[in-house]
């Protein structure tokens, strides 16, 4: 099949083209309707393969000039499809990782992922949200007789940062698709277990889909339901309530009525506390700003392993930049961003997890929280 580009010059040519389209039942791509074909305006028609010669002959006969816009439609289609042929049995068929998904679909995705990759993936209960929704994390673990260290990654602690859960899903997909063929990933899994929480703030995420795209906090009701939401990333027990917070519920950085006052915070904290001696690295994914942030937000005093933390982060930023040239700034939150207390990343480090980082993904403010879907792939690829 070919797509032809024609600019009719006269009314007679228009009439002939309309006649051709209706008798041969050609597929009009632009305009959509035959009656909208005008002289001087672009016309794009898809011609089925068996009719290509006949149509071209007819155009030549009527002195209508044309250009071949797409010489082979099937090839064009194949090229623009993602190359997932080899391993599509391992990930949910048809799940589009380059689109944002509502929570319902993410729940279904988790179930499917476990089903299709049961030798590697198990879904686990973490806790419940304030609106009583279930929080699940995925454990990616290669069977082995040795106990492995853990890397924990959570996404979606802030509802409006949609690129974050999109990245967690992408990450899982990439690992599962490539662990057999990619030597780096297979070595990784021989020595480490990955624990991924695709959406931490489930209630908030749903709220940002249904009611307010720019919602940030969770949905816990305060003051008799006149004010909603605690900033979960100010609610952890790390210098809680000391700086960079508000004690006012109506603020976006309201830290709650006490450290770990929120069920979502407790669910994560209790789990990590239990496993902390095996957790090597705590990652929490946010947007936007393009930063790799190290502890602390509550003080400018550097953490004990500051040099090592920075070194690893700088290597990560360099690798990230190598993909598409995207530049990420690296440093402690209190020095390069702003002061805050009660963040999950600070807390993880304070209880002894050596490598603790916040990633702030694309972009730098042009789109901010509302990052268009065509940036999901490059963002995820470079971050990977």
């Amino acid at each position: 099949d070919q797509v032809l580009h024609i600019v009719p010059e006269t009314f007679q040519q228009v009439q002939h083209l309309q006649h051709l389209c209706s008798t041969l039942l050609l597929d009009l791509w632009k305009p959509l309707l035959s009656e909208d074909i005008w002289a001087g305006e672009d016309l794009h028609i898809r011609v089925p393969a068996p009719l290509v010669q006949e149509v071209k002959d007819s155009l030549d006969q009527h002195m209508i000039s044309y250009k071949v816009l797409i010489p082979d439609v099937q090839e064009h289609v194949d090229q623009s499809m993602p190359r997932e042929r080899s391993s599509h049995r391992q990930v949910p068929e048809g799940y589009v990782y380059t689109q944002y998904h509502p929570m319902e679909e993410i729940y279904q995705w988790m179930t499917q992922i476990q089903k299709n990759n049961s030798e590697l993936v198990t879904q686990h209960y973490l806790g419940k949200t304030i609106e009583n929704r279930t929080m699940y994390y995925l454990q990616i673990s290669q069977p082995s007789d040795k106990t492995k260290k853990i890397i924990w990654m959570d996404c979606g602690i802030h509802a409006r940062e949609w690129i974050s859960p999109a990245f967690c899903q992408w990450f899982v997909k990439e690992i599962l698709q490539n662990y057999k063929s990619d030597p780096k990933i297979s070595r990784f899994l021989q020595n480490l277990d990955l624990y991924v929480l695709p959406v931490l703030n489930i209630d908030g995420y749903i709220y940002s889909w249904e009611k307010d795209r720019l919602w940030r906090k969770n949905r816990s009701p305060h003051m008799n339901g006149t004010c909603y939401g605690t900033d979960l990333n100010r609610n952890f027990n790390s210098s809680w309530g000391s700086i960079g917070v508000s004690y006012n519920c109506s603020s976006e950085i309201f830290c709650g009525f006490g450290p770990e006052s929120e069920p979502e915070t407790r669910a994560v904290a209790q789990f990590i506390e239990r496993k902390k001696s095996d957790i090597l690295c705590y990652l929490t994914i946010h947007s936007y700003g393009q930063y790799i942030l190290t502890p602390y937000g509550s003080t400018t005093k550097p953490p004990s392993n500051s040099e090592e933390l920075m070194h690893v982060a700088e290597k990560a930023a360099a690798a990230l930049m190598g993909k598409y040239g995207t530049s990420y700034e690296v440093g402690s939150t209190s020095l390069i961003l702003y002061s805050n207390s009660g963040s999950s990343r600070d807390w993880a480090h304070m209880i002894g997890i050596p490598f603790s980082y916040t990633f702030e993904l694309r972009d730098k403010g042009t789109h901010g929280f509302v990052l268009p879907p065509d940036q999901i792939q490059p963002t995820c690829e470079e971050t990977m």
Partner: protein
Amino acid sequence: DIGDVGHKYHLELVLEDVLDKDSTVNCTAEVLYHLGNKNIAPDVHFTIEGELKNTDEADNIFYNRIKSLEKELVAENIPDSHGNVSPEMEPIRLLAWVASGYVIWQNSTENTKFQLAQIKHVKQVKRSDEYLEFDYMILLHEMVSQEIIPWQMTVLWHPQHGVQVTQDSRQPKHA
């Protein structure tokens, strides 16, 4: 640090054309944040080394398209929740971005970092002269407080005369 006056910053920056990433131009600027009174916008002086691209053609196409609309333009949620902006709305978004730059400048201190988050609503206002007028309701994101601040602004534009914000006011956050 300028005693009794404020804090002055000397900046060397590179401007990048949003529509053409390879097109850059160097710029130097001086910004003076006034001490105390937060109601005065920072003083800004800048020099651009070289020339900015000529946009006459695109400006005129957009201008004529809006002028020839039968009904005044009205639109909401640009971009939409997923980040999409239709091609017809791109210039409307760019115009809001430029105009919001003025609002941001007028309301910035050393402790704020504003970005335009979204256009909630835009309505074209009919005019008898050659200017285009748009009444915008935008949402500004302030990074330090993480607040989303609704802001109304009235924007005038003309291909030869550029952008003007004739009126702007911060709006209450509705519960």
